[in-house]
Subunit: 180 residues, 2 copies
Amino acid sequence: MALARWIRISTEIRWKNPWWSYCLDRYRLSTGYEGEYHYVSTPGSAMVIPVLEDGRIVMVKQYRYLNRRDSLEFPAGGVQEGTDAATTARNELEEETGYTAKEFLHLGAFNPFNGVTDEICQVYLARELSAGDSRPDVMEEFERVLLSRDDVNSMIANGTIWDGMSLAAWCLFLKRGVEL
Amino acid sequence: MALARWIRISTEIRWKNPWWSYCLDRYRLSTGYEGEYHYVSTPGSAMVIPVLEDGRIVMVKQYRYLNRRDSLEFPAGGVQEGTDAATTARNELEEETGYTAKEFLHLGAFNPFNGVTDEICQVYLARELSAGDSRPDVMEEFERVLLSRDDVNSMIANGTIWDGMSLAAWCLFLKRGVEL
């Protein structure tokens, strides 16, 4: 069964900050119901699962201000104007971990927060890595953490990894069944 | 290594809609750097993975306006004022699928969109289900879909399931290794 489409009546950017825009649409359903949709609009993002030759996974630990807690995540970032998700993946990998990769494999995509944002996050596997120095920007402090696949799985099970986008990316990685 | 904490200087609600608030904090790093953090504040959410006695998983298909696409997801919703995540889980399960459950098991929690929101989503497994009628609210139209575990995994691999929160919840479910 195809679900009913919603018709956009109007759209408005209420507030724009350097990272995303607060938008407000008015829409109409086929029933005649009209409503408001408030949402976060972004140009998309990219997340990278970097895998070393010995099978270990590269993650980054960073302080997450909004929950006042350290968080272990895969390198990721928002797509900047004039660039694309694949370039973002390369840049974020290098900025956050110092690694560059010869091979990027697209694993899939998801919307991290479906009711609230139009953002689509493209997920990549990065292989054939070479180590270098990370270059975080002024607000960022990253600690590179190398983990076995079993470590990642345990840290998901025990709640150490609580970043939803990293959980979603890991799920894509596991289910795509990429041979390492 | 403990990462540096950020100090909040001020906080302000810029805009409040019925679902979330657009907030703006000013913060200071230990380096003296001061910046602005724009974010979506919510009272949290709950997501439920309902498992039938025969092992099939209950998902809901709904139209996602922000990406103009149908989406297959686990029942979920925002925590309403004066209630909590466990109650939200029960209510959303019944509203979206018609099922009620005798057993709820807490699987873990995650932040779906770590850079942008303070929301924490609590994830539950629901068992001992009894079927009833779904009661969507006026904006919602749900189609109940019953899937085997293998179906869910295939639909993740082929991109049919692209809801990040459902991917994250499924990852928690798989890694918690709950016996069914």
